[in-house]
Amino acid sequence: MALLEVDHLSVTYTPRDQPANRAVHDVSFHLSEGEFVGLLGESGCGKSTLGNAVLRLLSPPAHITGGRVAFDGVDLTEADDEQLRKLRWVDLSTVFQSSMNSLNPVIRVQAQFADTFAAHKVPGDVTERATELLELVALDRRVLRAYPHELSGGMKQRVALALALALRPKLVLLDEPTTGLDVVVQRGILTRLAELRRELGFAVLFISHDLGTVLEMADRVMVMYGGEIVEDRPAAEMLREPRHPYTRGLLGSYADPRLPDVRVSYIPGRPPDLSRTHAGCLFTTRCPHAEDPCRTIHPDLLPDRGGLVRCLVAQENRLPVVTLGSAEAATVLGSHFPATGSLDRPADAADAAPVLTVERVSKRYTSRRGMRTNTVEAVRDASFALRPGRVTALVGQSGSGKSTLARLVTGVERPSSGEVRFTGEGGADVRVDRLRGRALRDYRRHVQMVFQDPFSALNPTRTIAYALSRPLANFAGLRGAAARERTAQLLESVGLSPAGQFLDKLPHQLSGGQRQRVVTARALAPEPRVLIADEPISMLDVSIRAEILELLGDLVRERRLAMLYITHDLLSARLLADEVLVLNQGTLVERGATREVIGSARDDYTRLLLDSIPNPFGKAAGQQTLPST
């Protein structure tokens, strides 16, 4: 008997005013004692719903509509509230996504431990036990006296992990535990998690969209698509030979940025609408290998080369063989996006006169607390230049001063010392750090932003046409029919075609990738010369990230834009940027051509950032040489 048995589980959302949506459909899997299983999938694939169903934490309108979940032989789907309550946390605990508030904000950390112990009548001294647990996750006992808001994101997540281990459960369900955390912080937590698991021997169900992390951490990986498990096999096997085209697509969107030739692919199209019934395979519309039977026959999850796969073509052994990360793989996988190494860049781009120069800029923030003043130097003596047709990546941890630099460049803030210069039309020299009022407004038409979160960067109550017409009216004075025509052109230029389909839609009717395209189109509306993209892909699904990168890369080249690409993700920097600046605590510690900085980093901090990237290929390296061309 396995520790966790999920049999034919289905979960359906039945909202009052919308069609029912079968988020999880006929899912079966077993998890043995001490096993570390990853559940990989993109947003909306049903992975979190599945996790909540296992924990019996679904809230209306979601309901389990079929199947059962058994833990250690006890049927959780049949258990009543009191039975469940006694079993919870003692046997089965969880850590939620870090970006959410999983700790009660108005009581101290200690009280949350006390609550847990009291609920299960654990005898003994709470402080002593809680201190021990905090030591497990390398936190000081002072944290007990703190309120959650006084802790950093990483510390909160460590507390959540300590709390999850409080009663020494047999299974810990981790739902995106490090999403939204900094790479370096994430690395620390994952390392600790792996060590603890070895020490304490609990089983883990690790739910994440981040395949680098899942593949590195898990023994076995299940891939979910459209509410179904489409592939299930040991992580090392999956890396060596993914068998489902979707898994291949996902893996294709990942690569080690340190390799000399980096290529990633993306999966065009969108996930299926689960409120409708589909004949055939759910992935058909996005699948490069789809055949006629795929459109009518719904494949079963069948044994295949030491794992399980739900694909007719794979089951009949007719999938092309592919080595991941190679150029050949990219062509086999369909759409692909090569790193800049192989791009045809205008030869003069590197020497072109800079559009924007930042010279020896520092920014200090002073906060006053009682009689003491506290000065934080957010940016220290930074200099760089942005040139037309080139992408400069600004890389660093959160809190390293990346966003402060962006604010200085856009003129939202003024530097404490140093100069920001912009070369205006006709070569006019503009001192950005001295602009005010009208002049600052005029300057902003030349410097536009693409924001991180496409979900909150657009007014949810206004149409796409309206969102794009505002900058046109403000900066170009276009109104009415002229504005509408220009809006349509802009949409076409970011690949939303035919534009007529999108003009009158509201943001929520578009997918994340489409929304980010709209945000990009809006930034292009005033025909800026500098584009600042602040983590533009970090909120998007893995399979479409490369698509947005490709769009940004094309725009930079075609329109000769100068781009400042702010990111913590070195892979995307490697793909998009010509030049990389590494920022550590406000100081630029390393800079140079992208391939050199990432391929042979000299600074310790740059190396730390590189080493923090989850690297499943390192794990597979035992069985296989790193893919290269």
Binding site: Q97, S102, N104, P105, V106, H149, R369
Partner: protein
Amino acid sequence: MVYFLRRFVFFLGTLWAAVTLNFLIPRLQPGDPAEAIVSRLAGQSESVDPAQVQAIRVMLGTPDGNLFDQYVQYLGAVLHGDFGISYTYFPYSVTHMIGQALPWTVILVGVTQIISFIVGTLLGTWAAYRRNSRVDSVITLGSTFLGTLPFFWLALLLVYVFAITLHWFPERGGYGGGSSPGWSWLFISDAFQHSVLPAVALLITGPIGWIIGMRNNMVQSLGEDHTRLAVARGLSRRRVAITYGARIAILPNVTGFAIALGGILGGTVLVETVFNYPGMGRLLLESVSSRDYPLMQAIFLFTTVGVLVANFLADLLYGFLDPRVRKVESA
């Protein structure tokens, strides 16, 4: 500590601003309002005490004289509670009139407000705890329905049914002809009888806002991740509802409640008018309709100060209840 100190300084600042505005506004009027009042008083009755004239001048200003000296005098008068005399109730002073009306309002409205808040919070908590059940529907729909009825209509209905038709309670006033204010049993029972109908009217509508607010806040906090995690940790339903639901949901209501308490000093004009109740609301209405400036001004000052003090107390309480606020303020 920084938080509390900061709030106190802020409170003193606003208080000073309110008192100063009260000093400046009559002085911005053209002419000499004090003279106008004195002449109206003189026309009304035989003699005006020169000391009273002086008090009016201090409150409302004289066209000649140093503004700063006037301000100092005014602050002194305010500190001593000397607001001049009311000319509708001449020769009674404004302080005397307010002193007469205040206990009525504070007892009637204060008690009903406190009961409303407690009842409303409890009902709201219950509705959220049993969300989407019959209890929830009855509480939510019932209170929404009552909330849509015009208050004066409800009050008149109460008077018609329980006073005029059934004769259970007196229909108007604060006490009957047979008793006079004092600490006698007769007066207290009489005043209680008179207060039942207005109190009921206030209690029908009072809790509605607290119910709806509490229910919605709590439904939201019960949907938060920390609540889900508390359930996953195996905490009992009751524990989750209280520490993770109600404890957080009550925060915005605390501020609302304090402000409502502060507003009591202004009286509840509508209810006191319908029931002809001798409180601050009726006094305010009368002072406005008879253009009794000194009285009006004093009532406004009272109300402002009341709201400010209540707000200050709410801030203190909030800082105590919600640790996040302290942090934000001191950061």
